[in-house]
Symmetry: C2
Subunit: 201 residues, 2 copies
């Protein structure tokens, strides 16, 4: 039995990830997670709606961080720059919140399970919708705001992926800046590299 700790949420998260790695995601029940954390199932459901949610803890805090940065951005900053800066700040927040080992393990787990990917897609769609509203509140008209929100999310996803999978560097904000620069190059229509082989006519 673990000694008493006040951080039930954090204990449940840690217990869940440990068990997912040890036994596999599908072979772990909410009961197992609660037992490992020396808590009851009832306590688990006080924090998380289901087994999947334990892997998305903190997504609301992440969203709040992003929205706060959008609201506080200089009024004349272009929409996409506002979003990139907000995502970079959220990444720095995430770096301080999470061990990189947890991030990597979680990333691999989500990539392996369709039902986790599904939940991730819903969360990301919700995040894009929230950033869209935040841009509209700044005076960016629709549909520009909607497109900017989608592009911002693309930058965030790519940055997150690199941050979570590359050995180094681990600087999230640097990944965001690099992805934004790549987006600009791509959008400007710079030709890709020569194709590997001749195309059919």
């Amino acid at each position: 039995m673990a000694r008493w700790e006040p951080d039930a949420r954090g204990r449940l998260e840690k217990a869940a990830m440990d068990l997912f790695i040890e036994r596999g995601y599908e072979h772990t029940t909410v009961g197992d997670i609660a037992a490992r954390a020396a808590l009851t199932e009832r306590t688990f459901f006080r924090y998380f709606a289901d087994k999947r949610e334990v892997l998305f803890s903190g997504s609301k805090d992440l969203e709040r961080t992003i929205l706060d940065h959008i609201a506080a951005a200089p009024p004349d900053q272009p929409g996409l720059d506002v979003l990139a800066a907000a995502y970079a700040a959220a990444g720095t927040w995430l770096e301080n919140m999470r061990e990189i080992e947890y991030v990597r393990a979680r990333y691999a787990l989500v990539a392996k399970h369709a039902e986790l990917q599904e939940r991730e897609l819903i969360k990301l769609a919700g995040l894009a919708a929230a950033t869209l509203k935040a841009l509209v509140a700044r005076g960016v008209p629709e549909p520009t705001a909607g497109l900017a929100a989608e592009l911002g999310l693309a930058v965030f996803k790519l940055s997150f992926e690199r941050w979570a999978t590359s050995r180094k560097p681990r600087d999230f904000a640097g990944h965001v800046r690099a992805a934004l620069a790549e987006l600009r190059t791509l959008a400007a229509g710079a030709p890709g590299p020569a194709p590997k082989r001749a195309r059919r006519a």
Copy 2:
């Protein structure tokens, strides 16, 4: 009893949409749909894995159209232009396949139900992954291909939304060209309009 028609898939789709509009999506069962189409539930499940799938019929054909266009694009065409052209062609294909009334009704239905949005997000993520692979096959390196796939999808989503909801024009390819132009403007960092009100410091 309707007279015998060979197009079971089409009859099931029409019966489903009619019932979703008449009774609501949640109050319609697979049994209801099959009965309305004068078919059995077993026949329904030969075509669709579940009630949701009846609204995503043809998504594989749409994907095939898109991938064929990517594969046939000029070898030196930049990735994002390749995708935009492929999505425009797919839109034209869709215009010929579907009555606009069906498209509108379906769009409104998906927007209203979380479980349908979820399925749509999965399908779109699958489509983005498929276009990514198709770009890589053309010699576009990762991560450029991944970013291009996300941007292409953003253009497609916006174009689809406008096509499905605006009174006119109904020209899907025109919406794609407009969305791509907006993406380029946004990415170039053109400032948005002046904010509605003064920001807090």
